[in-house]
């Protein structure tokens, strides 16, 4: 299917916040994502679980436009993300289009990726000032509000090197939220943390789910956490969704053999 058969824009009555349409992603000849069709509704919290190499992190990375896709189209808020409309057809997006579309998406990484030469507050202010064009005062107010939300306001003048992993990750969440994204991506945000600080990060995400109408897509190995907060859980295997459903269904009553195997392996490991 070539891109001329894809809609230029999704119709108003069928407009999820994110739609993957026949998306493929290959590394060389190896398919990491295979014919992925996947929607995330507005305000929905979707968790992706699966064994390593199943392509779950890649889903987030291509949605953040950190990597390009090999074929298919991704739509965000009804508009094509990976492509743009030119001469009445969809063509691969240029940097200008990507920059415009990317502003609706925010991401937190496994290794936080805070800017080491800036304080927590400066990390949060950087995007709003440099990208959104806010004044320093506006950006500071917004950032301080968010640092309060994640419980890091008393450390706002510390550099990342003086913060624990959990604290750094909370600052990173505030930094991403400061851009006011419609979609937030969490890529194994607790995997690099010591067990005793995982709770402080998951609690922040719980708070976001409870109090904000954000669309969220999360890759995690914390099965209990995924079960607690997700609206929907997707089990990835071999670059596609093997099984999906409500947390109760997927964790309590998995249908597919591979899902059962994975879940019991994870349970044993704990």
């Amino acid at each position: 299917m070539d891109t001329s058969e894809y809609p230029l824009e999704l119709p108003a009555d069928d407009r999820p916040m994110v739609r993957f349409l026949n998306v493929n992603k290959n590394y060389g000849s190896f398919p990491v994502i295979h014919q992925l069709n996947f929607d995330v509704a507005e305000g929905e919290m979707v968790t992706i679980i699966g064994p390593s190499g199943s392509g779950k992190t890649t889903v987030l990375r291509i949605l953040m436009t950190l990597e390009s896709i090999s074929s298919g189209v991704i739509y965000v808020d009804g508009k094509p993300l990976t492509h743009m409309v030119k001469g009445g057809i969809l063509v691969p997006a240029d940097e200008h289009h990507l920059r415009k579309m990317r502003s609706s998406i925010g991401m937190c990484f496994q290794h936080f990726n805070l800017f080491p030469h800036m304080t927590a507050l400066q990390n949060c202010m950087e995007g709003p000032v440099q990208v959104l064009g806010l004044t320093k005062k506006e950006a500071r107010e917004r950032s301080e509000e968010l640092l309060t939300l994640v419980g890091m306001i008393d450390k706002k003048d510390q550099h990342p090197s003086r913060l624990s992993g959990g604290q750094q990750q909370r600052v990173a969440i505030a930094r991403a939220l400061a851009m006011r994204p419609k979609v937030m991506l969490f890529d194994e945000v607790t995997s690099a943390l010591d067990p005793e600080v995982i709770g402080e990060v998951t609690n922040v995400i719980r708070k976001l789910v409870a109090e904000h109408n954000l669309t969220m897509l999360m890759v995690t190995h914390q099965m209990g956490f995924a079960r607690d907060i997700s609206d929907r859980v997707c089990f990835f295997y071999g670059g596609k969704i093997e099984e999906e459903g409500s947390p109760q269904d997927l964790f309590g009553n998995a249908q597919r053999e591979r899902t059962k195997q994975f879940l019991s392996a994870v349970k044993e490991a704990r």
């Binding site: 953040m64 436009t65 950190l66 920059r99 990317r102 502003s103 998406i105 925010g106 991401m107 990484f109 290794h111 990726n113 805070l114 800017f115 080491p116 030469h117 800036m118 304080t119 950087e126 995007g127 440099q130 990208v131 550099h159 990342p160 090197s161 003086r162 930094r175 991403a176 851009m179």
Partner: protein, 222 residues
Amino acid sequence: MTPDWRWDFALEILPRLLRATGNTLTAAAAGYAIALILGLVLALAQRTKWHSITLVVRECVEFIRSTPLVLQVFFVFYVAPQFGINLSPWTSGLAAIGLHYSAYLSEVYRSGIDAVPRGQWEACRALNLPLRRTYLRIILPQALIPAVPGMGNYLVGIFKDTPILSVIGVAELMQMANTVGSENYRFLEPFTLVGIIFLFISLPAAGLVKLLERRLRLAMGL
């Protein structure tokens, strides 16, 4: 055979040598300034999406690094006029030494930029920072710190290489020592003093670079 060192002669020629030292320092500073800026341009030019530019710049850098500085100095001064470029000894000298060291500094910058973790680039992209801001505010400040020792080495290096400019008649320290020596048929004192002057400037400079690196690290909270 004991060397016949004359203190009175050494003291007599010292002021002239110190005045020439001023020229040497000017040449080193101006050449280094050129190299700092041009080196960054050369480093960034190797990171554009146009592979042909990368290739051409890389070959130029390799070419400059693989040929002697003295040849490049001669070329700029004696050969460039044939192409209608007439430069004074001073300008030729600074252009040649600046160009020469920009090739080396571009490699220092390049390794500094390469050392910035990929996650930093990804964070910039996730925040939607434009490329220019990404470089200026996030990548280069982090690339600079590991680059400081290398940059400091080349600062001392460029200073020690300024005597090469004497071959095209730039009145720097070496040229002056040679002149003084020829006038008096005594070379022991002028050349010894040149060595001492170089030593007295190079050693503290290396120390200052170390200090600068530490200060920068502190200032950036690293």
